[in-house]
Amino acid sequence: MSGGMDNMLSSRKLAVMGKHEVINASGSLCPGSYFGYDDAWTLDKFKQRTQIKIIRMAGNEMEFDLIGVEPSLANAFRRILLAEVPSMAFEKVFLQNNTSIIPDEVLAHRLGLIPLKADPRLFEYRPKDESSPSEQDTLKFELKVKCTWNPNRPADSSEPDEMYQNHKVYSGNLRWIPIGSQSRMYTAKDVGPVEPDILIAKLRPGHEIDLTMDAVKGIGSDHAKFSPVATAFYRLLPQITLHKEVVGEAAERLQKCFSPGVIKLVEKKGRRIAAVHDARYDSCSRNVLRYDDLADCVSLGRVKDHFIFSIESVGAVSPPSLFIESIRALKAKCRKFLREIEKEA
């Protein structure tokens, strides 16, 4: 009785990884595509099957499991994190002097990519009419660096660090200029660059950079510098099933086919038997399928509705807050269109 029903169950749940192909990769379950299943959507069913488990949170990184949702929803959150959750970045650079070897436009581009600590939720978008910057929508910074010979340099030195002063321009050289009452609300540490040691330019004696710039709030679909995440991605939970007992040399070979920690060897009556320990962090290389004797013992799959979601923040907003922002952005977008329909109806 293991035929039809089992296959159907696993094809609904699992994407099967074969040697040269992935079977059942498509994710959506629509009413009518599986005989005998009621796949009509209801909110109660959605609530029943959806789970979230936060696995790891360290520094700017977070990993959590989003279980029971459709790929389209997980993908919407991912795309919104990359392109629609706002952050602050330099948008306008006003150059007073630039005698370095970096062209103005290249320098401006490099400055734009510096991640800022400023929390975008505390700021407004700058109005379209390009009115003068206000304390609600702009952060002003200046960068003034002049490279000189080091008067105390050793006569025979050829080391730039000994010969010159200020020959490396770092993000730490940026100075924040508060507008209006900003100085009472924030400190330079709250709004400045996330890291002080990002190299912006290299100078030689006589070179000088003198500029001011405006950081504004924006979104990643306008320019990648506004993206609040370094990466946001998901992968499906791997599933490895052993059908037969794999013993001795074959068991060790099997273990080597997977990522470390995935397969364990259990000692039983003096024999070493392979068992699945934790499939979660397998790289899904499918190396095992290259051995004809092992390929028959194992089946590889991925759980189609178990998303292992990873978010790495650039540093301004913590990863869990970013995920919540992405949910809210999606809600706001839907509400906007709902209002529009109801207005027209």
Binding site: S28, L29, C30, P31, G32, A40, W41, L43, F46, T50, Q51, I52, K53, I54, I55, R56, M57, A58, G59, E61, E63, F64, V69, E70, P71, S72, L73, N75, A76, R79, I80, A83, E84, P86, Y125, K128, G218, I219, S221, D222, S259, G261, Y281, P320, I324, I327, R328, A329, L330, K331, K333, C334, R335, K336, F337, L338, E340, I341, E344, A345
Partner: protein, 141 residues
Amino acid sequence: MSGGTGYTPMSPKESPMKKDKSQQPDDSDEEDILSSVCPDGLADDSVRTFIFKNQNHTLGNLLRDQILKYPEVHFCGYSQPHPGERVMHLRVQTLPGSGIPAGDMLKKGLKDVIAMCEHVEDLFNEELEKKEWETDSSANP
């Protein structure tokens, strides 16, 4: 809903090639963000193509996927007709003879997406309160 008689290409005037800053998320004062057309010769409103301005696969695929899960829906699909135009088309067709307006399905789709978001947000906040996660920087062996 503004029921046109067919698809008319965008006039150059409203071409998104000119710089508009209106794609920012909380910008609601933009006119005509959503419109709809129905195919030639069809008088009933069970077939509609909805035209979303400043939207892409994020919302297109999500709404298509959601609306396809309703038994009353005969067909649903989306496209981004040209990558240079910030426009997404969503076509919804309800079962022939059912008399259900396609717009109702879109409305239901949007409402259900909002409900899903709210549930996911609640679950995530509950998890945050539990504080049961690992904190070492490389749990990945």
